[in-house]
């Protein structure tokens, strides 16, 4: 359904600004009827890739096709079959939700009868009856997001693209949106969503791609990606907050324990230790070894590999660390300017 080939995009590079390589040879293929998750920290290039896909931005290099149509040369045909729910919901505060949907329907050239019927369906589906005739300016974040989703679905797109659809939403709105996305997929719509929430991608996506620094670094079903890692994960804390010295001592102690494949010190989590162990009763051996060395145990937990482990394996850091490392580096104002036409 979607083919992104060798996409590159650079921003800035003017006299005052350092240039940013938002996309760096990004390749991605989304099969038809798939609910596909694009996972990555803020600033990984997810939004840029989606904006290119939705004809809002031209890449510096590379090719994009949707359902066999070239996005760069046949943008209008592509726009007809895709619905786009942007990250920052742009709604007209003065209009009511229903008026906005009617406007959207006209922009997609729906006939009046079809438009009204479709709007009524979506109002019921997304639970918007109570407030749809109030002005959009009075809506909460969850209401705005639901309205925006309805706008994206109005023309029955074959492909729905959502950029961080549940950021900052209440649990109820998030559940409502997840449910609709699953229904859509079940009924044949291809859904592509970006997210930096592991659990969202894990819960929803049939397939996912991990995006880091403008490239896809891992791709597959969540299960396959987790299974490919192999082994179990063990998180060990000898104290609630340890220090570098102690962590290194414990690391050295456990490194050679039979069944332990890898021991990594996680500095951002109070110098806890992340172990990869072979399946089985390694935990007991660890306990004995720690007791023999007279080390306390604050927490010791075993789990199957998670999506975060997949991320860690692929990038060398956890998603949370990746988020924190870019948190101070981005300039929202500048990014908004760049997205302005």
């Amino acid at each position: 359904m979607i083919e992104l080939q060798h996409l590159s995009k650079q921003f800035g590079g003017g006299s005052r600004l350092a240039s940013v390589q938002a996309l760096d040879d990004l390749c991605l293929s989304v099969p038809e009827g798939c609910l596909f998750g694009l996972l990555g920290p803020n600033g990984a290039g997810k939004t840029t890739a989606l904006r290119i896909l939705c004809t809002l931005l031209a890449p510096d290099a590379g090719s994009v096709t949707v359902a066999g149509l070239d996005v760069l040369t046949q943008p209008r045909a592509v726009r007809r079959l895709l619905g786009y729910v942007a990250q920052e919901v742009a709604i007209d505060k003065i209009l009511s939700g229903r008026e906005l949907l009617n406007l959207q329907g006209d922009l997609y050239h729906l006939a009046a009868a079809e438009r009204h019927g479709r709007i009524a369906e979506l109002i019921a589906l997304l639970g918007m009856e109570e407030w749809i005739d109030r002005r959009c300016g009075t809506y909460s974040g969850g209401m705005r997001r639901r309205l925006d989703l309805a706008a994206g679905l109005l023309h029955r797109p074959r492909l729905l693209v959502l950029d961080e659809p549940t950021v900052g939403l209440d649990i109820e709105s998030r559940a409502a949106i997840w449910q609709v996305l699953q229904q859509l997929r079940d009924q044949g719509t291809t859904v592509l969503l970006s997210s930096h929430y592991l659990e969202e991608v894990d819960a929803l996506a049939d397939r996912l791609a991990i995006v880091e620094a403008g490239r896809v670094i891992a791709e597959g079903t969540p299960e396959a990606l987790k299974n490919a890692l192999g082994g179990d994960r063990v998180t060990l804390r000898v104290r609630e907050f340890s220090d570098a010295g102690e962590a290194a001592r414990v690391q050295a102690l456990l490194q050679d324990c039979p069944g332990v494949r890898q021991v990594v010190v996680n500095r951002s989590q109070g110098y806890s230790l992340n172990l990869v162990v072979q399946d089985g009763d390694v935990i007991e051996r660890l306990r004995h070894q720690l007791a023999a060395a007279e080390l306390p145990v604050f927490a010791l937990a075993q789990s199957r590999p998670s999506l975060d482990d997949v991320y860690l394996q692929a990038t060398g850091r956890t998603l949370m660390d990746a988020e924190l490392s870019v948190a101070g580096l981005r300039d929202p104002k500048l990014e908004r300017k760049q997205s302005m036409r």
Partner: protein
Amino acid sequence: MTSATPSLGPLQAVAAEPSAFAEIRQETLALTRRLFVQLARRPSTLVAGVLQPLIWLVLFGALFANAPEGLLPGGGSYGRFLGAGVIVFTAFSAALNAGLPVMFDREFGFLNRLLVAPLRSRSSIVLASVLYITSLSLVQSLAIMVTAALLGYGWPGAAGLLLVLVTLLLLVFAVTALSLGLAFALPGHIELIAVIFVANLPLLFASTALAPISFMPTWLGWLAALNPLTFAIEPIRAAYGGAFHLSNVVLNAPYGDLSAATCLGILAALAVGLFLAIRPLLDRKLT
């Protein structure tokens, strides 16, 4: 939340392509309707747009009410003279604001919503602004004309009224093109408002709205005789002056005499020229 409905599935059969005209009409009317709904719920621009020229008319009219007889060419009261200027000023100020809604749509990302939609022609976005601002400025100008008539400053005859409307339309097209161009060229609404603010009054003073060219120092007379507002004011003033003909000389410019027809021709050329001039910019921003 209701459970799954079959309606969620994508549309498989693609209907035959409707005519381009029907699609452009649908999207343009929808976008225009949005602007009018905004106006109806936030009428302050409409009110201010009528109030400001009204204040000009009343205060300026009063200021020079006791000017010596025969001061103005062709006699007549100052209020009568001022009327044409204020009507044009009203239409001009309204059209100058045409770019503001577009600028806000750019800034708040609403334009992206329009650009993701399969618009038949993205000129619909521009066309909607032109339709909206044209009707708005004509309504405001008519309100001023009625007020001027009530103040005893006269009313053009039927033919005169037609000339007034055509003149205003041409001016509004030209200024709207300029404003829309600025809305896409400038980085934000602060800059756009600043340009509007700075352009507004000097263009009024450097025109024949408040005083005839014969009153002005030579340099200002030249400026006024090159000012597009003057080319709109003088035909309207002639229409208010009673029987006239398009070939009548309405402006004694330092570089020669201009007829009403010439003034209208200049305005039309200006409107077309400005739309052609901003086209590359619109194409760049909208594709």
